[in-house]
Symmetry: C2
Subunit: 343 residues, 2 copies
Amino acid sequence: MEERTEIRDLGEFGLIDYLTRNIELHNASTILGVGDDAAVIDQFGRQTVITTDLLVEGIHFDLSYNPLKHLGYKAVVVNLSDIYAMNALPTQILMGLAFSNRFPVEALSEFYEGVYLACDKYGVDLAGGDLSSSMKGFFISVTALGEVAPDRFVRRSTARKGDLLCVSGNLGAAYLGLQLLEREKRIYQENPGVQPDLEGETYILERYLKPEARSDVVQMLQDLQVTPTSMMDISDGLSSELHHICKQSGVGCTVYSEKIPLHADTRRVAAKFNLDPVTCALNGGEDYELLFTIGQQDYEAVEPSGLISVIGHITGAGERVGLVTSAGDRIDLPREGWNAFRS
Amino acid sequence: MEERTEIRDLGEFGLIDYLTRNIELHNASTILGVGDDAAVIDQFGRQTVITTDLLVEGIHFDLSYNPLKHLGYKAVVVNLSDIYAMNALPTQILMGLAFSNRFPVEALSEFYEGVYLACDKYGVDLAGGDLSSSMKGFFISVTALGEVAPDRFVRRSTARKGDLLCVSGNLGAAYLGLQLLEREKRIYQENPGVQPDLEGETYILERYLKPEARSDVVQMLQDLQVTPTSMMDISDGLSSELHHICKQSGVGCTVYSEKIPLHADTRRVAAKFNLDPVTCALNGGEDYELLFTIGQQDYEAVEPSGLISVIGHITGAGERVGLVTSAGDRIDLPREGWNAFRS
């Protein structure tokens, strides 16, 4: 009998590890390969950062509530976020699209309006791409390039014991935006006469439908000449990203539940859904905020910016990824996070 | 009533023109954007070439006869072909894959075996990528990067009157390989007891299932210090590519039917299918040979390589894309070529 291992048993990161376990690099110019937010390629002493991300209909978005213009914007932004997460500045994107014949030219035009809006806002160029039909479904593949001064890129794997754990902005809002849209979709499906009730929820809806990448945080760090010791963007949920940084750096960490930044709307909507807003922040995903570590000596420089929250610190090798709850208990943080292969 | 323009009415290139008609570039580093085999990006005086291509199940391949290992190999090669077509040498790829849960880990392993085989053969690194599930279907998105000495990249838009039109290898075989596989699939579907009869057709089948990119031709040109005046790879059929070069260069051309290189197996199998082998070469596609123009003074240097055929020459502005048939008649060559949006 032929062997059959289900992909959900490995998960995305297990699958990546498995498929790249014997990878061999041929070119000295490949400075950093698989396993970070982006790859780093040497161009005769200068460095290019490059990343690619897929957005798949039915998995990453639902065209019944993701407007195409927002989707075009978001497809660009989530890739730029990976470039910023390397401490680099994005310069170009390539856009690959596959779509069935149910989409007219006007629909693609709307999508590209969003793409160009994001390109303008972040000062990047759409430099190429590919268009194809598909039998079914809308598939988006974006590749983004960026520049970084030689060896100033920041990996996930270089956090050190004693470093402070920082996050930009606030977490959990996008997840609740998605819950709201899913709820209204269910109500509409059960009773098409009912109009969606999304009034007053602009903040959390925009966090999900039209996120921004934290160019301002990277700019602030560069202005202050502070280089994070490790960094990544928060796309799968804080908990999953903490595990990435700790595992790849060979360290543990302690995070304080009460320090995790939450927007007032996140707390309010979480209460309406009977959800713990901290759990939304830990396991929700799609925040596109930056998670990074800095040496303690950099705290005073970074703190006045108002852009970041210190949520904990890095502990030694062999330590766990721990959360101190509001009751003062220390628990191990499960990896969780968003999983594109969850059945 | 909302406007609805069908994409098939514009075609792939019309759609690209339409969606990129107002494109604005922000970065001086974007030397060449949309509209060639690849984009060119300046890296502080050095140049990176970058391209992305989608391969979509049911459109570009059929898993009932495209073995996954071959498909992984081909997905890499067709992107490298775009890099060589810029007169550049490929260095890295990124691989994005989306697939439904009908694929076990073992299937992806096979696919990646082909990917690594191509990486080894062409000396490129798999530097990153993205994996995702899909509701249905297998989607492949490959981005390839390459290096070229400053301003030595070759566009499609720079052919000049009097230049010689050259193609590498031979044309039309991949198209017939596909016809053969499609015929055997139909026979099998009608009578699952019948075994496919593909014996003796290794050459044309491999041309379709496992094409190679013409690194040797680019190497030869660089060794001879011959820079083509224009170049592209032949992925959609010679006729379509001739139209691209002529339109983008603002010239016409004359191609001689009898000069178009055909393999003996192409002639033989075309006859079996009652097809004209020259038509297969003109409209078939997926050859991944190089089409390029050189100044007449370079002919003597290039000819002894045995790698290329001169099939005609470039004519002046306002001239047509013309074919001289074996009977000596001159006809206008229709654009045709393979179209991913053909219904």
